[in-house]
Point group: C2
Chain length 505, copies 2
């Protein structure tokens, strides 16, 4: 009879093959977003479906189930946080997630997603919620069925979040968010009434795109993005994607009249990429060598984008080069430019929001999703509830549903329980930074002396190298000694924005 | 029992799946050549091997053999040149090619290729043929075994050529080449002694690369390349690749100090792409909708590159735009530029050769390969034989083997019987053009009035749409009423080069 090491090796090989297929899918995806011609889309769907089908077959093969059963029934000398124990535990988690959803439900979610997305597109274009409502109703219903199939302890929404943020509990997230909201709502108001206000026109100018590319490349390379193991492409919506252990790519979008947009998105995606580039290579293609969650991923992108890339310490080094590169910046004082880059202003559209108000956009979505799930809100009443929350949290009047509850694609394709990970990312980022500063000293000083290898080394050692050893919550506790809390984010935001707006908070 | 239509449908589905896998492989390839980071190469090999393995499994599955056997044993009402009959015939051909080679031989060719290529690289760098000789010996031996496995009627070399140019017979090709050589050798000499000689420095200048891109894009789009179904990438070695029925891409390489190199390679690859874009779409992923051979493919690229893209008729329209786009051309008379673009000069290196002398580079390789195959030349004597032929045909002294018989990679990886297709392409191109002119009038006049849709329409109707219905030789006979002959190429070359060099030929 095979011993546990042989079974483990066989399982590892199977899972590696499924990872190889996933990475091939990523190549198709990257190509599709960057260079594929218009009319190739339909056949690309066939190519992608073939790879996804092969991958699904591998992931859900009875042999994988058998191997897991056999390994779990045997006694081993693996420590609970050993690579082997972690991998078997997480392969089980993935396998269960793959096999728990009945095939018909998966197909219903997909087909409802295709038609729901089309309905959403039309509804948004025509500002007509009624067109989308039946599809949204259907999608919520399917997601409830999915939650039942996955199973949960307390509330169904837990099961949805668990897909993106393993082990996250709705009640805990709600509490953390509530604390954050209580601080942010008055803070936003105070900033609006502050004596200093940013001049947003400072961001406008003429910025040669080839020069932007070279500048951004130099920046992310300095921060730690490894171009021997990565590349940058151009897409309408920036993203980060992993095509292999030494092939982690980011994309960005350039605007000729703005420099800060591509810059920030490059550093943001670069943050995601540095996480992917710094997992444990010897555990690549196993859970122990895989980023743990969307929230922790977002903490890395936000850290580099905001806590590094919008600071005076950073720009004191780089602004002179920027001025040399882009003649229009010659007459713009660094602090004027930076204040505009650090503006916090309530707005209607999530994707355009700044790092402060963004959190409230997220909370609104989280609260509405949860309310529908728990039967406290009918789908037909979403527009009114949406507008009410925008008024209450952000002080803005939503003029129509197109700029309101129809702005995001996510619900139309059945992505629910996903939004909270964005705000969790901000929360984790601030909490991680506080821990980093305890060990390495003030971040500002590290940035000022360009100690990026030291910063990245700390992130690698404390976060990246763990892969999926811990749940996100356990990881935060392990690194910071505390459960996730919004207090560090609140302190950080008060200090950052109070400084620019010239008020004591 | 299943009827023949059901069996045909099942076979078509299997073959389509293998085509989908091939197209996925093409995506990996294109990505690997254009943007993949350096260190991703090794894992990309694993990804590619997985797809190739799946494809090979499909192509050689016993079920495919059964389906072919069954269909072939049934009586049908398919006409011999119907899509169904053509497809079954060609699927059989492909299947036999896939299954005839023993697995050990395929593996030996691959592993010898890997080590032979490394030996070749070193041998070329050090100009040391002896380092490469044992590998070349081995590779010739393996290719002889492959020829035996494939089977042939007259001589073993037939079986090798047959992989690239179905049905081509060595003796016939040799005869056509001999006729061509008898004309070209004195022609080259006459041109060297002609009163007019080109000033090659006219090609040098400063050409903004972004502007080159835009110019070339506009040209190939005008000629008929469909950008909704294609794209252009950048690579060291230009190529054309098909990633799907609506996804045919070309690549090129830009030089800042030369405009003609990227221009010609773009039009050349564009010619390949227009063939791929104009096969019968309803037969896509079957032999009836697939280009027939490398030689016919090359005829299309050479047609557009040389017979269109180097003519006064073409440039009379485009040179003014080129002068407007590239200030350095302002002081260069069109005819001076064009004469330099149409220079014919004996040289050592095949890939840098002009359209006239290129054919002799090919013949030399063909003659040497054949001689080794037929036992008339020992591998150790290749350098001497090579140098002798360069002296005799091109009048050049080969100073060393690095610039002589070690210049091409092909032999090191076991590609033999492939070179002749390049010269066949030139021969077919001239012969097709003569037929086109009989029907549509002088090509020069068609170009002068930019009748590109008419030209491309003729190529589509007479060549592209047939797919693999005919063998290349049959296709030439079908289109031109004659077997392949070098006389049209000779007439064309005499007229073209005689004109520029100012001599009667």
């Amino acid at each position: 009879m095979a011993n546990v090491h042989e079974l483990y090796s066989e399982l590892k090989k199977e899972m590696r093959d499924s990872f190889t297929l996933e990475s091939i899918f990523a190549i198709l995806d990257f190509d599709g977003e960057t260079i594929m011609p218009e009319r190739a889309e339909e056949f690309r769907g066939e190519q992608a479906a073939m790879i996804q089908g092969l991958r699904h077959e591998k992931l859900t093969s009875p042999r994988v189930g058998e191997l897991l059963d056999q390994i779990e029934s045997m006694s081993t000398d693996w420590a609970p946080d050993s690579v082997e124990a972690v991998n078997v535990r997480e392969w089980r988690r993935d396998y269960d997630q793959q096999v728990k959803l009945p095939r018909e439900l998966v197909e219903a979610i997909t087909s409802t997603g295709i038609r729901g997305r089309a309905a959403w597109t039309k509804a948004r274009a025509e500002d007509n919620f009624a067109l989308f409502e039946p599809w949204l109703e259907k999608q919520f219903d399917l997601q409830k069925q999915a939650a039942e199939a996955f199973g949960y302890e307390t509330e169904a929404y837990d099961a949805l979040m668990d897909q993106y943020e393993a082990g996250a509990k709705t009640a805990e997230v709600a509490e953390v968010f509530a604390g954050l909201r209580a601080e942010l709502v008055p803070l936003i108001q105070a900033l609006q009434e502050a004596p200093n206000q940013p001049d947003m026109s400072k961001l406008e100018g003429s910025f040669d795109i080839e020069k932007q590319k070279a500048f951004n490349r130099q920046v992310v390379s300095t921060l730690g993005f490894d171009f021997e193991r990565g590349a940058i492409g151009i897409t309408t919506h920036p993203f980060c994607i992993t095509l292999g252990p030494h092939d982690i790519r980011i994309t960005t979008r350039y605007e000729e009249n703005r420099f800060d947009t591509a810059f920030s998105s490059t550093v943001h995606e670069g943050g995601h990429a540095m996480y992917e580039q710094n997992v444990s290579l010897e555990d690549w293609a196993t859970p122990a060598g895989t980023p743990v969650s969307l929230g922790v991923h977002e903490s890395q992108s936000r850290f580099w984008e905001n806590q590094v890339g919008r600071t005076r310490a950073f720009w004191s080094k780089w602004y002179p080069l920027a001025q040399e590169t882009f003649p229009g910046l010659k007459d713009v004082a660094m602090d004027d430019y930076l204040f505009a880059m650090n503006a916090a202003q309530p707005s209607l559209i999530r994707v355009d929001a700044d790092e402060l108000t963004y959190n409230l956009h997220i909370m609104i979505r989280f609260e509405l999703e949860r309310a529908v799930f728990n039967g406290n809100l009918a789908v037909k009443d979403i527009p009114e509830a949406w507008n009410e929350k925008y008024r209450e949290y952000l002080g803005v009047e939503v003029p129509n549903n197109a700029q309101g509850c129809l702005q995001d694609i996510h619900w139309s394709i059945g992505i629910m329980g996903y939004f909270p990970t964005y705000a969790l990312g901000n929360i984790y980022a601030a909490q991680f930074t506080a821990a980093l500063e305890k060990q390495l000293g003030p971040l500002e000083k590290l940035i000022a002396r360009e100690a990026y290898p030291e910063i990245l080394g700390w992130l690698r050692e404390n976060i990246h190298r763990h892969g999926r050893r811990f749940t996100p919550k356990q990881l935060v506790e392990h690194v910071t000694g505390e459960a996730p809390t919004s207090k560090y984010l609140v302190d950080y935001l008060k200090s950052r924005f109070g400084g620019w707006y010239g008020i004591e908070l």
